[in-house]
């Protein structure tokens, strides 16, 4: 019944716009799995992508309530169409032959690469779909010292866009 949705929106690049979106989720007890926001090429707009979970009814309400916010210019549910989603993960592991082997095994068909090596620690940079990354992190398990995820972003494929 409950499903994950990636909702992406163009926001007026005003102070307070982000807190309106975040506040809406907490005030109405909606879920936030991840939230990411940054300016677009048009400096008057920022693009915010939120991953949320809910029944069809709840997701419908979330979209309507977001749309109702005056700072939200336009909104798209990426889960409704054929879209491309990506998340970036940086993770730190202790350097050892075993971990390096694991990474090169796992990384063969992914975008994982060792980006930094300092004082016996590696920073691995990997991007992919959220679920794939979840699995990837599970396999590394206890080897991980620290991890940071960017939150999901996405674009719909083909002609469909979120632009003005």
């Amino acid at each position: 019944m409950s499903r994950q949705h990636i909702i992406s929106m163009l926001l007026e690049n005003e102070s307070g716009a982000l807190s309106r979106v975040a506040g809406l989720f907490s005030a109405r007890a909606y879920n936030i799995e991840s939230l990411t926001v940054a300016a677009t090429i048009d400096p008057s707009l920022s693009r915010l992508t939120v991953v949320t979970v809910g029944s069809d009814k709840v997701i419908e309400q979330i979209k309507k309530q977001l749309d109702k916010l005056v700072d939200v210019v336009k909104l798209i549910d990426l889960s409704e169409s054929f879209s491309l989603e990506r998340e970036l993960v940086l993770l730190k592991v202790k350097k050892s032959d075993a971990t390096e082997q694991k990474i090169s095994d796992l990384g063969a068909d992914s975008m994982a690469c060792i980006t930094d090596e300092t004082d016996g620690f590696l920073i691995i940079e990997v991007s992919g779909e959220k679920t794939w990354l979840d699995d990837f992190l599970l396999t590394l398990g206890d080897d991980i010292v620290e991890v940071v995820r960017s939150g999901v972003i996405g674009l719909s494929r083909g002609e469909r866009t979120l632009t003005l």
Binding site: K64, Q65, V70
Partner: protein
């Protein structure tokens, strides 16, 4: 024209056609107050508490249809206003609230009288603005009025740091004639395809009910609603917020619905096969138990706010847009049909409703000598000829007023339905009086509620806004006591008000007329005497039955057909 920021605020109000500002001064708005001093078009009303300012502006807006305007200082001025802002928000009342803010340079430094007004009010406003440049004030004011009054109306805040109102910094002023915002496009007319679908359902209905709400009042759709109801001859129920849009004395009106609605209205909802919801939002006090709401009905929902659709209840046909054009389009479609929607078409349904009606569900004991609160409202209706503007506070007295004073016109019944704010009634009544100086205005209240914004009696003397205060003094926080009687075995935990003031003397101390009414036979004469004093505020303290309850009642979480009936009703358990 070159103006300072403070002058721009006031000039914008002037250009917006604002007549009254309800406010209270303080450090961060002193430049603005100086601009007020140097002009005469925009009149300022000095309240005694910022909550009073917001409720007064709100009452003004509800009675006039024009936006209410409030001006308060930063910090405590803004926080005191929050209750009134939330009250307006919950009932979708157009309001523009100007709040002073500390100078830009010290924002975020915990400066004297600094609060994050934008943050505090964010969840209870339609939108809010922090203005950063003096050159942006005029356009922001325009946006604020546009947002407050269009689409689903609501309060909008304009937070203005003191430095940008500096009298020494002048900028060219021009008030925008029009404004559009790319991120905001309120809907206009409804989708005609959906309207046709709705009319199909209307054609098939055997047990229809029109369920009309506050949106019809706010959207000025009362005339169209009446026309639709008369064209269809369907039974009409209204929410607490919708009363008056359709005449309360019309036999087609089956009473208010919901928690303290009539038996016939709630039973009709429960047994209906078609609900036509117009400008109503399926509030929990209306629906009762959601899972059992109108189990047999198809539902048509007309609303200006897309987010209201399917928020609580799934609907069969949704029509988003302004109520007025939608009802007109719907009427045109109905006239297109070659059908007669006379009463005979749904004769069985009306017969059933009349049987429910015969239970006389609001009947109360008229034989005792004590003053029953219902009796006072009935007499109030009689004495004012049903023509008064009634504001109310929150509690049993509010329900008695809604039940026993049928409103034949919209905007006459003014109460805090969504937030249920005690303290609303008195300042709201003052606001109504500013909107309609010649009308009879009464505030129906209780000894609990009235003490929450009592200080405005002083403002009412200063500005000569004569109101009749109908205090249904039962000595209890009556609505709380009623719930404790029903759900807590009559353990009246802190619902008894000891050490009440002598309200008569209190009114006199404020320079008004006070009356204490202890006997039933004095009720009507006292009301006549009070309303004869056209130019005086009269505080009528009615010492009523202390233990009267509001009936009928749907207990929280129960369904429409599961009502508690009063001992005086003719309801028998084995009835349908």
């Amino acid at each position: 024209m070159e103006l300072s920021g403070g002058e721009i605020v006031i000039q914008s109000l002037k250009d917006e056609g604002v007549e009254y500002v309800f406010g209270y001064p303080g450090g961060c708005v002193l430049h603005i107050y100086d601009a007020i001093f140097r002009q005469e078009d925009v009149k300022h009303v000095l309240v005694r508490h910022e909550q009073g300012a917001t409720h007064a502006a709100d009452g003004y807006a509800r009675a006039s249809g024009k936006p209410g305007v409030v001006l308060v200082t930063s910090g405590p001025g803004a926080t005191n206003a929050v209750t009134g802002i939330a009250t307006a928000y919950m009932d979708s009342i157009p309001m523009v609230v100007i709040t002073g803010q500390v100078p830009k340079a010290v924002i975020g430094s915990d400066a004297f009288q600094e609060v994050d007004t934008i943050g505090i009010t964010r969840p209870c406003v339609k939108h809010n603005f922090l203005v950063k440049n003096v050159g942006d004030i005029a356009e922001t004011m325009k946006k604020a009025f546009y947002l407050a009054t269009s689409g689903r109306p609501g309060p909008v805040i304009v937070d203005i740091p003191k430095d940008i109102t500096d009298p020494n910094i002048k900028v060219p002023y021009e008030y925008p004639a029009e404004i559009s915002m790319r991120s905001y496009t309120p809907p206009v007319s409804g989708d005609i395809g959906q309207i046709i679908e709705a009319v199909k359902l209307i054609k098939e209905a055997k047990r229809p009910v029109i369920y009309s709400g506050g949106g019809v009042v706010l959207g000025e759709g009362s005339a169209e609603l009446r026309e639709l109801c008369r064209a269809l001859n369907f039974p009409v129920t209204q929410t607490l917020m919708g009363l008056g849009a359709f005449p309360g004395t019309d036999p087609q009106f089956i009473g208010m619905l919901g928690m303290h609605g009539t038996y016939e209205a709630n039973m009709a909802m429960h047994n209906s096969d078609l609900i036509i919801a117009i400008g109503a939002r399926f509030d929990d006090r209306v629906t009762g138990k959601v899972d059992e709401f109108c189990p047999h009905a198809k539902i048509i929902h007309i609303d200006v706010d897309p987010a209201s659709i399917a928020k609580i209840i799934e609907v069969d046909v949704a029509i988003v847009g302004q109520v007025k054009p939608i009802l007109l389009d719907m009427l045109a479609q109905i006239k297109h049909l070659d059908e007669t929607f006379d009463r005979a078409r749904i004769a069985d349904w009306w017969l059933q409703i009349d049987q429910w009606r015969a239970t006389d569900c609001m009947a109360y004991d008229t034989t005792t000598g004590t003053i029953k609160p219902q009796y006072v409202i009935e007499q109030l209706y009689k004495v004012t000829g049903g023509e008064a503007y009634l504001t109310s506070d929150v509690g049993q007295h509010q329900m008695f007023a809604a039940q026993f004073y049928p409103f034949d016109e919209p905007r006459r019944w003014i109460n805090s339905g969504g937030l249920g704010t005690m303290g609303f009634g008195l300042p709201a009544a003052m606001g109504v009086k500013f909107a309609h100086p010649d009308a009879d205005v009464a505030c129906v209240t209780g000894e609990g509620s009235i003490q929450m914004c009592l200080q405005e009696l002083s403002t009412m003397l200063q500005y000569d806004t004569p109101v009749k205060v109908i205090n249904l003094n039962n000595g209890y926080l009556g609505m709380v006591r009623q719930w404790q009687e029903f759900s807590y075995d009559s353990r009246y935990s802190h619902s008894y008000l000891e050490a009440l003031p002598d309200f008569k003397k209190l009114a006199e101390a404020y320079g008004h007329v006070g009356m204490t009414i202890k006997k039933k036979e004095d009720v009507e004469p006292a009301l006549r005497e009070a309303f004869a004093m056209k130019n005086r505020t009269v505080f009528l303290d009615f010492l009523t039955d202390t233990k009267e309850n509001v009936y009928p009642m749907i207990a929280a979480g129960k369904a429409h057909h599961d009502m508690m009936m009063g001992p005086s009703s003719k309801y028998k358990r084995n009835e349908p």
